[in-house]
């Protein structure tokens, strides 16, 4: 399948046959639902508003690539070790090259009633889980997230029962080591259910250890019960040639609270679909994101916050630093339906452009159907402030140092909220190195 074949005359059926149907599984009804949804939506093209700037040809080229699978060698283990975050106590489930890697996974202490198992196993056990996931798919707006439903190899199912709090945060390490020569793809799916009044902290750590091209299509579904609290950290550190499609769906019940922090760096094309749906009143979500783009790196953040019920609060801050020929897009929609009275939302997008060829798209959108609400949004795109630079230089800092300090400060506002010292210091070191390159 090559790029020039993607035109309007090509139907999704042709593409489907190329997408290689999965082997026999025990979650047939989920697969059928997702296939039906994918067929209804069709493979995205640039004519679709939501995919206007995304190089879909590139995705198509790898969408039908061979699925990753492999045995992790000792050498691979050694490469991964620094990312095990051993200084902080975590429950760790590791996927290496698309497969669950038992040797890198550690389960230390799970409170009573908490289930942390492979999604394949969970689906086999619980038929109703399959139905719940399938039901959500009928509303899935992203064709490739729908495709994940029939393509996924495995994943994780986490259930936290009522009034229960996870003792340790969960570290989902999704790593690509890469081995053979061909383009590779991995498709993983994660389902998390927090029952009423439950609490959990989850780190979704996407790690690319290879310069080889690969596609990672991951889907996360979080159901956060009444009065439950979820803290989620989405960390993306990819290889230069990586394509990452990441769909995260959050369904918040009454009085639930979500804190999401997303960090993206590396990867030639990264698309994050972050959707939050308020299903019960008085719920709230706080979304923060930082993306750093250099060279040909492109990051597309598609955020959709749906206020379906009254009295919910949403806050968003998305920051992007683009250098080289980097492209950033933040397409964020806050939708308040007629019944969502007394809702309150705030969106902020800030883009920092550091090179002449960098490119920023910002779309802070509002769809407001209720009258007694507050909705505000702001977007700003620009370069480093001349006066700020002058101020720092007047204090004796070199031009380069001044640029570094300002850029780092811009990014740190997001990163400083990561409560896990190992990940934070890794990201800070990463950022320091990257920003040093960007500001010269």
């Amino acid at each position: 399948m090559s790029a020039h074949q993607l035109d309007d005359s090509k139907t999704y059926r042709d593409l489907l046959s190329a997408l290689k149907p999965p082997p026999q599984t025990s979650w047939q009804s989920l697969q059928q639902a997702s296939l039906a949804r994918f067929q209804a939506l069709g493979f995205p093209t640039r004519h679709h508003e939501g995919w206007k700037y995304v190089p879909v040809e590139r995705i198509l080229n790898t969408a039908c690539a061979e699925k990753l699978s492999g045995v992790v060698s000792d050498k691979g283990q050694a490469l991964l070790k620094p990312y095990f975050l051993e200084k902080t106590n975590f429950e760790r489930i590791a996927f290496v090259d698309g497969m669950l890697d038992q040797s890198s996974s550690v389960i230390k202490h799970l409170p009573a009633g908490v289930r942390l198992i492979s999604l394949a196993a969970a689906l086999e056990e619980q038929k109703d889980l399959q139905e719940r996931l399938a039901a959500r798919l009928t509303e899935e707006p992203n064709a490739l997230a729908a495709a994940n439903g029939f393509q996924f190899q495995d994943g994780v199912y986490l259930f936290v029962p009522k009034h229960q709090k996870l003792t340790l945060p969960i570290h989902l390490l999704i790593a690509q080591l890469g081995h053979h020569g061909n383009a590779l793809s991995q498709h993983l799916r994660f389902a998390v259910e927090l029952a009423d009044d439950a609490q959990a902290e989850i780190v979704c750590d996407h790690l690319g250890m290879t310069e080889q091209s690969y596609l990672s299509n991951t889907v996360f579904e979080f159901t956060v019960g009444r009065h439950a609290r979820l803290k989620c950290f989405n960390i993306e550190r990819h290889g230069r040639a990586a394509i990452h499609l990441n769909a995260m769906r959050f369904f918040l019940k009454e009085d639930a609270r979500l804190d999401l922090l997303s960090y993206s760096h590396g990867g030639i094309t990264t698309r994050n679909d972050l959707h939050v749906t308020f299903e019960g009143p008085n719920a709230s979500c706080y979304l923060k994101g930082l993306a750093v783009m250099n060279d040909d790196s492109q990051t597309f953040q598609h955020v959709h916050v749906k206020h379906q019920v009254p009295n919910c609060t949403s806050r968003q801050v998305f920051k992007n630093i683009a250098a080289g020929r980097g492209v950033t897009e933040v397409n964020s929609l806050v939708h308040m339906v007629r019944d969502a009275q007394k809702s309150d939302s705030h969106q902020l997008i800030r883009n920092l452009l550091l090179s002449p060829a960098a490119h920023a798209y910002a779309r802070p959108q509002l769809k407001i159907y209720a009258d007694d609400v507050k909705a505000a949004h702001g977007a700003a795109t620009g370069q480093l402030g001349r006066e700020e630079l002058f101020y720092l230089k007047s204090r004796g800092l070199s031009e380069k140092m001044a640029r570094f300090v300002l850029t780092y400060g811009f990014a740190e506002e997001i990163v400083e909220d990561i409560p896990f010292p190992t990940i934070r210091s890794q990201i800070e070191t990463d950022m320091k190195n990257e920003i040093e390159k960007l500001v010269t």
Partner: protein
């Protein structure tokens, strides 16, 4: 805000919903190369103009009607539209006394300043009554200054070189579906040419009015401002009440050369359909675009949108010349079942170009109000700046207000800022007014006028007065 007050004031009739009986000579309905040929022949147009129309028509046939706007309407039957309607009396009048008394009555009801000219000194009116100009005044004074202000069809005959040079240079015939349709069948419009180093001695004003039932209006306006010149152009609209929908697909093209400035103001109050059922009303699908071709050129759009069943327009600026400036000030008020998808496009191409966008949307009753705006900073537009503010106000619980901004920044030295809020009139504000003894309706009116103040301030004085009156009138029918 109590529901009873809303209901009490909602039931107000459209005050300009009258219809003047003036005999009309119509051409056949339907769209074909023959219709276009007939229009061109009626207008005694040169061959190149007919070619321009036919070319646009051929392109139009290949195009499909766009559906991306957030508006809803029944399919339009393009074969069931009267493409040309002209009053029978065609003899030019020297004085107002000769004008059809029926027509004069219409103008009086509308408050068009043909009769008020003496009072509103300095306003030249080129009133277009169903496609043909019936009276043009102050021509001599403008001519003295070297300014050409005439009906478009006259310009095609008298100043073919100017028209040929600039027509389609800002809005190409193939720009979009409705622009292509207009380019094929446009009937008349206004033409303004301001020569070098000339400041127009008066505000130019033109009133459009749709009259014959089922007659689409395809106006075309072209304004050219040469180096160091200035013109302010006012456009105002009202229309009689009809049940069948009427399509209005106009084109406005502005060209500003070095250090030239064009100020284009619109107050629009077309029939918006029955507020109870949403039946009828005007479809206003307009392409308005200005091109700052020269250095330090400036184009400023100001619009007060209160009418039309469906409004679909984006007055835009192409900032080609270095240091050029584009401005967009808009108040869009929707009530009843009205739908508006409006905003602007600021395309920054030249260096150090600046643009300001201030948009205020007020949505009441069951209406649907959308702001859609593009800010594009091109690769070479270093030092470009934009500031956008779009605020929405919701009045009532059955309306909606949407904001769809698009930012496309390709130059690192650009500074683009956007801020927006959506809210309702706060109870605190109302309470403050009420405890000072001011009735709810008056309080609402004051708050909304304050909300729109940034835009009203941009209007020429005559229009500012009219706009205030219009808002009050409209608000009486929609706010409680």
């Amino acid at each position: 805000m109590n529901d009873k007050t809303i209901k009490d004031i909602v039931n107000r009739e459209y005050q300009y919903g009258f219809k003047t009986e003036v005999e009309q000579a119509k051409t056949i309905k339907g769209l074909s190369e023959e219709t276009i040929g007939a229009i061109s022949a009626y207008k005694q147009e040169p061959k190149w103009m007919l070619e321009f129309r036919l070319n646009a028509f051929r392109q139009w046939k290949k195009m499909t009607e766009p559906t991306w706007a957030n508006v809803h309407h029944a399919p339009i039957d393009y074969q069931n539209i009267i493409y040309y309607a002209e009053p029978k009396q065609q003899k030019k009048k020297e004085s107002m006394d000769e004008v059809d008394p029926e027509m004069k009555k219409t103008f009086e009801k509308l408050g068009i300043p043909l009769m008020e000219q003496k009072r509103l000194a300095g306003v030249a009116v080129d009133a277009i009554f169903d496609s043909v100009s019936v009276a043009t005044t102050f021509k001599a004074k403008l001519k003295e200054a070297g300014i050409i202000f005439c009906p478009f069809s006259e310009a095609v005959r008298e100043y073919p070189e100017l028209v040929k040079k600039y027509i389609g240079s800002v809005v190409p015939a193939t720009d979009n579906f409705f622009a292509a349709l207009n380019s094929a069948v446009f009937t008349d419009g206004s033409f303004v040419y301001v020569p070098k180093n000339t400041k127009s001695p008066m505000e130019l004003s033109s009133y459009f009015r749709i009259n014959t039932e089922g007659s689409g209006q395809f106006e075309r306006t072209l304004i050219i401002c040469e180096d160091n010149s200035y013109v302010s152009y006012l456009e105002g609209c009202t229309a009689p009440k009809f049940d069948t929908n009427q399509l209005h697909a106009a084109i406005v093209e502005l060209v500003a050369l070095d250090h030239a400035e064009i100020k284009y103001s619109t107050v629009q109050n077309w029939y918006a359909g029955d507020p109870k059922t949403g039946k009828g009303g005007i479809y206003n699908f307009v392409t308005k675009r200005g091109k700052c071709l020269g250095k330090h050129a400036k184009i400023s759009w100001t619009q007060i949108e209160t009418g039309s069943a469906i409004t679909w327009k984006y007055p835009s600026c192409l900032l080609v010349g270095d240091d050029s400036i584009g401005e967009f000030y808009s108040v869009a008020l929707t009530t009843g079942y009205q739908e508006a998808d409006t905003g602007t496009k600021m395309i920054h191409i030249g260096k150090n170009t600046k643009s300001t966008v201030i948009s205020k949307g007020i949505s009441a009753q069951r209406s649907n109000n959308n702001y859609r705006g593009l800010i594009q900073i091109g690769k070479n537009a270093s030092g470009a700046r934009n500031f956008t503010q779009c605020d929405s106000l919701l009045v009532g619980s059955e309306c909606n207000a949407n904001t769809f901004p698009y930012h496309d920044v390709q130059n690192q030295s650009a500074q683009v800022e956007h801020e927006a809020t959506t809210s309702k009139i706060s109870d605190d504000q109302l309470f403050y007014f009420q405890q000072r003894g001011i009735a709810t309706e008056a309080a609402m009116s004051s708050i909304i006028n304050g909300f729109c103040k940034d835009v009203f301030r941009q209007l020429p004085q005559e229009f500012a007065v009219e706009a205030n009156q219009l808002m009050d009138l409209k608000l009486e029918g929609s706010v409680g």
